[in-house]
Assembly symmetry: C2
Homo-oligomer: 413 residues x 2
């Protein structure tokens, strides 16, 4: 964990209400360090519906493989998350470790092993000693409580400088539904230092296939639209659970993602996912500034996103932002290298509300002073119009600072 | 230009022989700064054959567009290269500037405008005042000499910390052929700070279409296998000229790239291209270490190159190298995010000759001390075997240091 909190950290945290049907506890299992909280247990006392999206890495961690295999069963009773060891690139030993952890959790909670979900973050390539979980999970299950969200968020931090939590409410059938979430991550993000994990729980009663559709749709404009350094972890995991406790208040079960009663819920869920994703970017390793990049006028939304991510991942764009330099030449470069259609002579670029380039040239009315004022802001909006079609996309990133290099290059010395 | 020379700079420079058929001169045209050499003229007194490969950017500079348009004519008489202004993203004004520069050069040299080639590097988005060339090109033509390669290499430097030159000889028909080249570049590389330019000249007598085939084949394992920061300039230009002067010694004209008499020439050309490309990486902005990444066992050579470039462009791999950290977990991450087929349990990774991971796990015989010794080297070989097929590729990159961030983020402050 870093000693100084990111300047982009939230100024205040929401009150995180308990959510019916889920309890949590943390413990120090000694995975890597002694006397450091390194395990989180989430327990669903009744079977919860479950959805998950995972890293696209071709070398996923053992817990990612394990979760993917359990997901078709559609039932969750327990989630075990540990920091200190990613259980990634651990071969056969990794599969043994996930099996043993699941067995310990199933015994502690009193459920089947295919109702257990796992996530690990920390060192890669080191065998995870899963016997350490057996000693703590029983106790954790006994002690787990509902009003524990901030503590849960803290337990899964690695290089994060602040815990990430969020909560929303929505109406289904006139019943007030709660959605709570936690996230960790401080890069996009790499083994050995970080990984993006997020766990979101609602008390709505929604079946697993519908939940999966909602999550798959929600991840695109949120977690899949943020980047810190273009590096994708072997362990990235986003899960959504529905305890169904709202059924007691008269919410009748939702069977399909296109049910019109879900409109308000979808809005709240997507807003929460975006909130959590942006908290991850704002804690990007070494970040001092947040950049919102909107590309319009592309041939398609997909093309717009490719261009936006090309800009967001460009080291030269990110170092320019760190230097408060309105270097729109580097934006042009990043548009050009994206591989998507672009016509130099139709391109227009804005920093904040200042249009710096238009029709393939510097804007004749461009004010260096106005642009410099934008670049001094903590939050910098960049807009690029390609002038070709109707496609749009927005992505978020942070600047690339010497501190990023220090965090990722110096920590061994 | 940076004040301190890269620690990876060549320890010595080759003697660069004059090459029959080409003369060069430099001048201070005042493009951006007063009294700084900023223009290079290369003159071919007799029409030279010509080949070129250019940036894949969708927003190329006006000189790149100009060169591409002239290339089908297949004849070069003059090359004008300027630093201080990239003439990129300059719209209609950019095309006027290339037209005027070509007209000035054609008048000075006494050739047609479609026998002129242009390259510009420097600030993007600023109109280039091409009238400044008119005053100097006539004089330059009169003063141009053959033994001028190091000076030519210096004239096109921007953030480069050393000039880049190379020379080779080869036999065709028993005649000794010379190939000389210069390059500039200190990133892969961005507008406003840098751009990769290289000009290679031989006295061999080879027709333009054959020359184009040789260059297209040669660029893959050389300039297209190096990366500093994954950012591609709007202006990247590599050109190959053949003066044909060796015909006087009895070399009969080569009409096709598959002519068996070219074997020795191809070897020498490819070796020179690789030499120049590696000189660019070794001058990467802020570079302290050079990394050679070889991927084997991929499904195809193309897949191997995608994986190798994913490793080479990963900020987390590059910062780890800067920190002398044998962080093979980040190599796994970069393999996984490449999108190419990979099987965690077949992966093996070496730093130098030390195998750190095998069969999807840390190598049990892995020595931390041996690996640390490798990481302290100036040149670090990384080898990854995917264990899937026969595809191989090698790429080169440098580390990512705080100095890179400083060069690209602080220079305005």
């Amino acid at each position: 964990m870093s000693s100084s909190v990111s300047p982009l950290a939230p100024k205040s945290y929401p009150d995180m209400p308990a959510l019916r049907g889920v309890r949590m506890a943390t413990a120090a299992a000694g995975i890597k360090y002694k006397n450091r909280t390194d395990v989180l247990l989430m327990v669903f006392d009744k079977p919860a519906a479950v959805a998950g999206v995972f890293t696209r890495s071709k070398c996923p961690s053992a817990p990612v493989d394990f979760c993917r295999a359990n997901l078709p069963h559609g039932v969750a009773r327990a989630v075990v998350v540990n920091s200190g060891n990613a259980n990634a690139f651990t071969g056969v030993k990794g599969r043994s470790a996930t099996a043993l952890t699941a067995k310990s959790a199933a015994e502690a909670v009193g459920c089947s092993e295919n109702e257990v979900y796992l996530a690990s973050t920390g060192v890669i390539g080191e065998p995870l000693d899963a016997t350490k979980f057996a000693g703590v999970l029983g106790n954790m299950h006994a002690q787990a409580i509902g009003a524990f969200w901030p503590e849960a968020a803290k337990a899964i931090m690695t290089t994060d400088t602040y815990p990430k939590v969020g909560t929303r409410t929505a109406q289904i059938d006139g019943v007030t539904i709660t959605i709570n979430g936690i996230a960790k991550g401080a890069g996009m993000i790499a083994p050995d230092m970080a990984t993006m994990l997020s766990f979101v729980v609602t008390d709505a009663d929604i079946v697993s296939p519908a939940l999966q559709s909602l999550l798959a749709a929600g991840v695109g404009p949120s977690f899949n639209s943020v980047t810190v350094d273009s590096d994708t972890s072997t362990s990235d995991t986003l899960m959504l659970f529905a305890t169904g406790a709202a059924a007691h208040d008269g919410q009748s079960r939702i069977e399909a993602a296109d049910d019109p009663r879900l409109e308000d819920f979808k809005t709240a869920l997507n807003d929460l996912l975006k909130d959590l994703a942006l908290q991850v970017v704002r804690d990007g390793e070494g970040a001092r500034k947040m950049v919102e990049i909107t590309v319009s006028g592309a041939e398609s939304d997909a093309a717009a996103k490719v261009v936006a991510l090309s800009i967001a991942n460009s080291p030269l764009v990110k170092t320019a932002v760190a230097g408060e330099d309105a270097n729109w030449g580097r934006i042009v470069m990043a548009v050009g290298k994206s591989g998507e259609m672009a016509d130099r002579d139709r391109l227009a670029i804005w920093f904040g509300n200042v249009r710096v380039a238009v029709n393939g040239e510097r804007d004749p009315d461009y004010s260096e002073a106005q642009t410099s004022a934008v670049m001094k802001q903590e939050d910098i909006p960049v807009k690029v119009d390609l002038g070709l079609g109707e496609g749009t996309a927005t992505v978020w990133t942070c600047d690339l600072t010497k501190e990023y290099v220090a965090i990722n290059g110096d920590y061994r010395s």
